[in-house]
C-alpha cells in the first residue's frame, strides 16, 4: 500500500503527519502534502472534502480514493483511459480552467467504480461523474458529464 504524493516539486522538509483510522487499511499516516481537497465534495458526500489516493496493487490500475474526514468512506477509482483510451468528456476543458491546471500532466482524471458485493465481474464505472484533480494544487472536484456516450454504469469487464 502506498499513498500517492502530489506533483508538487517543493515539498516542505517536515510536512505535518497525522493519523486517520480507516475501514479498509486500519490506521494510516498521512502527510499534509498528500491530501487532496474535493470542493464541492462528491454528490451525496458534499460535506467531506479531504481525501488521499492509495495505490492498491502495482499490477492493476485500481486506486483507492480514501476520505480523511470520514474514515469508513472510500471509493475504488481508475483512470478511465484504462477503459476507454479516448475518454474526453466536454466539460473537461472548463474544469481545467476552474482548477487552474497549467500543464496537462498535472491533471488526474479518475472514474469511480461500483462493485456489486460478491459479483465483481459485474463492476461498472461511472463515466458520467469523473473526479478531476489538479495534482499540483491538489484541488479537485466531481464533474458531471451529460453525454449519451458516457454512462453512469459503464461495464468494465465482458459479461
Amino acid at each position: 500500500m502506498r499513498i500517492m504524493a502530489s506533483n508538487l516539486q517543493t515539498t516542505s522538509p517536515d510536512p505535518a503527519i497525522f493519523s486517520v483510522k480507516t475501514r479498509n487499511f486500519g490506521s494510516i499516516e498521512v502527510r499534509s502534502d498528500q491530501i487532496i481537497y474535493l470542493d464541492p465534495g462528491l454528490l451525496g458526500f458534499t460535506r467531506y472534502h479531504r481525501y488521499v489516493l492509495i495505490e492498491h496493487h502495482r499490477e492493476a490500475p485500481f486506486l483507492w480514493l480514501q476520505c480523511l474526514d470520514k474514515g469508513d468512506l472510500a471509493f475504488v477509482v481508475v483512470d478511465p483511459r484504462n477503459l476507454l483510451p479516448d475518454y474526453h468528456p466536454g466539460p473537461l476543458t472548463q474544469a481545467m480552467q476552474d482548477l487552474e491546471v497549467e500543464h496537462p500532466e498535472d491533471l488526474k482524471i479518475l472514474v469511480i467504480l461500483t462493485i456489486p458485493p460478491g459479483n465483481p465481474q459485474e463492476m461498472t464505472a461511472n463515466l458520467m461523474g469523473p473526479v478531476v484533480i489538479n495534482l499540483r494544487t491538489r484541488q479537485g472536484k466531481q464533474l458531471i458529464v451529460e453525454d449519451a456516450n458516457y454512462s453512469h454504469k459503464h461495464r468494465v469487464l465482458p459479461g
Binding site: 487499511f25 471509493f75 475504488v76 458485493p117 454504469k153
Partner: protein, 76 residues
Amino acid sequence: MLILTRKSGEGLFIGDDIRITILEIRGKQIRLGIEAPHSVVVLREEIYRRIQEENLQAAGARDIDVSEIAQLWRQE
C-alpha cells in the same frame, strides 16, 4: 418549502450570488435562467440523483472487492 409566484421575465435571488430568472412559460414547460458561481453545482434533479445514487452505491467497496477485481483485470 418556500413557495413564490413569479411571472415570465421575473426572477429571484438565492443569497448574494445565485440568480434565477423565469425566461419563458410555454404550456407545461418553463425555461429558467440560472446565474451562479462556478463552485455551485447546478443540475437537473434526475441527473443529480443518478450521480448521487451511484456514489452512494460505490461507497460500499471493500478491500476484498479490489483484490478480486485486480485478479479479474489481470486475467483479461
